[in-house]
Structure formats: structure tokens, C-alpha cells
């Protein structure tokens, strides 16, 4: 393993100074963000801290059951978050989100860890947990965007969907345009990310590997694999959530619109 500078508790203490800078700006300009900023910083520290200890334990114990159990926990949280973030909720959305996340991440993350990187042993948490974490986090985004676009479409163009149904369209025919637009919307962020990668932004994982002492070429190679994986997961995720949600929003008996979430 290449060397890197270890951070001490004192270094972290210094980093708190940075949050103090942000908080004093908020106070000076009366932005009213001081409280939420400190709360967010505290949560961030506690959550990441807890995560650090949990990961350390999982790495030590290093059994497949424990790794898979942890992945399951991450999956459930990601699916819940996808549902929480989407503006409209319909009956069965939890199940749809979970199913979609499971399939898309399993396929994309599974292919990358087991065939591209070929992790040995197959459950090695050092690879599986961060890589699946990235798949979950990114497909969550794609699923949310796709879902919002689809419900928005059904809401604003419901009368067109009904018109098609009255002339004999199947549900799939009636929702096709909307689903297509929704999948597009779900995939745009990753396309944008890939387009500017390396020029505007140095992706987080690559940055991390370089700091940890990996060769930049290796870091880039990993990053490319990860980005393609995210693209695949997003495409799969958007497509399946659009199909699942489409079935619930356009039924055999016409439209079934969920009530609008109050904000």
C-alpha cells in the first residue's frame, strides 16, 4: 500500500475551524443558517464517525454474511431516501423503489465487482461497500428524477393519456412518451458528469485514491469503471422505475393519480 499522511484528532479539530468560518459568515450576513449549519456539521461528524467504526468492525470480521447484511441496510436506506425525495407518492412506491434499486444496483455493481475488478474473495468489503455505496447513491438520484418527471407528465398531460385510452391504446402505448421522457431525465445527470469529468471536476473517488497514494493512471482507470457502472445502473433504474410506476399511474381503468405532496 502506498503511503499517505494519517489524520490525527488534532487535525480534525483544526478542520472544525473551517465550519466556524462558514458559520461566522452566516452570522455576519444574518443568513439565519448558523443553527442549521452547525446541526448539519454535527450530524455529518456523528454519522460519518459511526460509519467509520461500523466499517472498521466489518473489515475486521470480514465474513460474507455481515458484508451482505450491511449492503442490504444501505440498499433499504437508499430506497427509502429515493421515495422520501420524490414529490409525489403513490401506493406501492416503496416496493417499486426497492425492487428497482435492487435490480439495477445488483446488475451494475455485481458486474463491476465480480467481473471487471474481480474482487478476491468475492465479498471483500474494502471493494464491495464503497462501490455499492456509489451505485446506490447514484441510482437513487436517477430514480427520483425519473419518478418526478413521470408523475409530472401524467399530471399535466393526463387528458392526452385518457384520449389515447378511449381510442383503444394499451396502457403501455398510452404512457410510452411519458416514460421515455422520464428515463431521459433520469439519465441526464450521469451523461453530464461523464462529459465534464476531469475537465471541470475531479470525481471524488479518483481524488480519494490519488490522496491515498494510488497512481493517477490507476485512479483514472477505476473512475472510468465506476462512471460506466453508474451509467448502467441509472439506465436500468430509470427504465424499471418508469415501467413499474407507469403501471400504477395508468391502470386498465384509466388514470390513477396520487394526491400532490404538500410542501
Amino acid at each position: 500500500m502506498a503511503h499517505y499522511i494519517e489524520l490525527t484528532p488534532f487535525d480534525l479539530f483544526l478542520a472544525i475551524g473551517l465550519i466556524v468560518i462558514a458559520a461566522s459568515i452566516s452570522a455576519a450576513l444574518k443568513l439565519g443558517l448558523t443553527r442549521s449549519l452547525s446541526l448539519a456539521a454535527t450530524r455529518c461528524m456523528l454519522q460519518l464517525g459511526a460509519m467509520g467504526f461500523i466499517l472498521k468492525k466489518i473489515f475486521q470480521i470480514n465474513t460474507p454474511v455481515l458484508v451482505l447484511a450491511w449492503l442490504l441496510v444501505m440498499l433499504i436506506f437508499a430506497a427509502r431516501e429515493a421515495v422520501r425525495r420524490s414529490k409525489t407518492k403513490y401506493r406501492g412506491i416503496n416496493l417499486d423503489a426497492l425492487a428497482t434499486m435492487t435490480v439495477s444496483s445488483l446488475v451494475a455493481g455485481g458486474l463491476v465487482t465480480q467481473m471487471v475488478i474481480n474482487v478476491q474473495p468475492w465479498y471483500d468489503p474494502q471493494y464491495l461497500i464503497p462501490i455499492f455505496g456509489m451505485v446506490f447513491g447514484n441510482s437513487l438520484n436517477g430514480i427520483c428524477l425519473c419518478l418526478d418527471r413521470l408523475t409530472e407528465y401524467v399530471r399535466s398531460r393526463g387528458n392526452e393519456i385518457e384520449l389515447m385510452l378511449t381510442f383503444g391504446a394499451t396502457r403501455a402505448e398510452a404512457i410510452r412518451d411519458g416514460a421515455r421522457q422520464a428515463v431521459r431525465t433520469g439519465m441526464i445527470p450521469i451523461i453530464n458528469n461523464m462529459t465534464v469529468a476531469g475537465i471541470v471536476s475531479l470525481p471524488g473517488m479518483m481524488t480519494g485514491q490519488i490522496v491515498a497514494g494510488a497512481s493517477p493512471i490507476q485512479a483514472v482507470a477505476y473512475q472510468i469503471v465506476i462512471m460506466f457502472m453508474i451509467a448502467a445502473a441509472n439506465a436500468l433504474g430509470s427504465m424499471s422505475i418508469a415501467a413499474l410506476a407507469g403501471r400504477r399511474l395508468v391502470t386498465d381503468f384509466g388514470l390513477k393519480l396520487p394526491p400532490m405532496e404538500k410542501t
Binding site: 387528458n159 392526452e160 389515447m164 378511449t166 381510442f167 391504446a169 402505448e173
Partner: protein, 221 residues
């Protein structure tokens, strides 16, 4: 000769009152039927129930000797087609709006004839608008006439229309009504219209009144 039967149809409000109670529609082609009744009596609910576009309980849907199950609703709707209230349009041109259904799986056995479409467009006096114009140019009355064109070009054996003549000047409404009647004769079809005005009801083959959830035949002689 088509033989159409739908029902008994029942539909309850959330508070448990009947909007429709065991309503049966049964007609033989050719036939032009006008349904009216006080506003809010469930006329739209009835037509939507026949089309299978709400959760009303509908015991049977039959066209000639064929029964349609709930799974076959799309196919049923291709034959028993409802022109919706307020005449919604697809975001597209006039041509898109009268030809789209021919691209559906359930429209694959029909061919779109632009000549026939132009004939009907002439009849309803929409010929001043080019076929490739976008529908957002149309006024309310023009949208309703476009709806009629869409229905007649599609030419289903049973055509239902929910207030197809609203927003039309009396003279134009009369000629559109005649066009619907002529369609039922020429195509041996059943046309079921919800219309408020009594003068149309008087000119129909059959006048039905919906009140308190039940249909009554009104004697016109």
C-alpha cells in the same frame, strides 16, 4: 348490424349513495341515442363506465356475440369509443390528432384514409385550418368539431360522445348533429350522445333520461 349491450352498471359515491343503479344499455344498430338529465346526475359517469374508465361495477360488455372481459378493455374501447367531455387534444397537429389511433396495436386492422378525413373536415367546417397546423390554434368549438372528426374517421361500431356539441353556434351544432345521425345510418353504427338540448333529443331515434341513478325512456310521440 351490430348488437350492443353493456351493464348492469352500478356506481356508488363515497358516502354510499347510488350514482348509477343497475343501468343497462342495449341497442341495435343503426341507432342514434340521446341521453340527458339534470346536471350532476351521472351522465358522464355512465359513459365513462361503459368505456371502462372508472371503477363503476359493470357486469357485462358485449358487442354482437363477443363478450369483453376487463383485461380486454383496450380492445373494447377501440370498438366502443368515447369522445370525452371538453374534447381533449394531443399536443400535435390536426393530422396527428385524427390519425394517432391507427398506430395502436388495436388499430392495426384499420387504415387511415386522408380523403375520408378531409371529407369529414369539410362537413364540420374545419377546412379553413391546414392539416399540419398545431391544435393550440383551435378555439373551444373547433376542438369539439375536431373531436367529432376524430371519432368519425376512426369509425367505431359504437361511438359515444359526452356533450360533443358544446361551444358550437346553434346552426353549426345542428349540422354536426345531422352528421352524427348520418354516420349511424351510413356505417350501421350506434351513436350514444349526452346532450342537454331537448331539440336534439327530439330528433334522436331514442331519448333516454338519467335521473336518480336510473335510465328512463322518454316517449316522444
Amino acid at each position: 348490424m351490430e348488437d350492443f349491450e353493456c351493464g348492469p352498471i352500478s356506481c356508488l359515491t363515497e358516502s354510499g349513495q347510488y350514482i348509477l343503479k343497475d343501468v343497462v344499455l342495449k341497442f341495435q344498430a343503426p341507432r342514434l341515442v340521446v341521453i340527458n338529465g339534470p346536471s350532476g346526475c351521472g351522465k358522464s359517469t355512465l359513459l365513462r363506465a361503459v368505456a371502462g374508465l372508472n371503477r363503476a361495477k359493470t357486469a357485462k360488455r358485449r358487442l354482437d356475440s363477443r363478450l369483453y372481459s376487463e383485461k380486454e378493455l383496450p380492445e373494447w374501447r377501440a370498438h366502443v369509443t368515447l369522445l370525452l367531455q371538453d374534447a381533449p387534444c394531443l399536443d400535435g397537429s390536426l393530422l396527428d390528432n385524427i390519425s394517432f389511433a391507427f398506430g395502436f396495436k388495436n388499430g392495426s386492422d384499420r387504415t387511415f384514409s386522408q380523403d375520408r378525413a378531409l371529407q369529414i373536415i369539410n362537413k364540420v367546417r374545419l377546412d379553413h385550418i391546414p392539416l399540419d397546423a398545431h391544435v393550440n390554434r383551435l378555439s373551444g368549438g373547433e376542438r369539439h368539431r375536431l373531436g367529432i372528426v376524430r371519432g368519425l374517421v376512426w369509425a367505431p361500431p359504437v361511438l359515444m360522445a359526452d356533450e360533443p356539441l358544446s361551444g358550437l353556434e346553434p346552426e353549426l351544432a345542428d349540422s354536426c348533429f345531422d352528421i352524427l345521425k348520418e354516420y349511424s345510418r351510413q356505417q350501421e353504427a350506434i351513436v350514444i350522445c349526452v346532450l342537454h338540448e331537448e331539440r336534439f333529443a327530439l330528433r334522436a331515434d331514442e331519448w333516454l333520461r338519467l335521473e336518480h341513478g336510473t335510465l328512463h325512456r322518454v316517449n316522444t310521440i
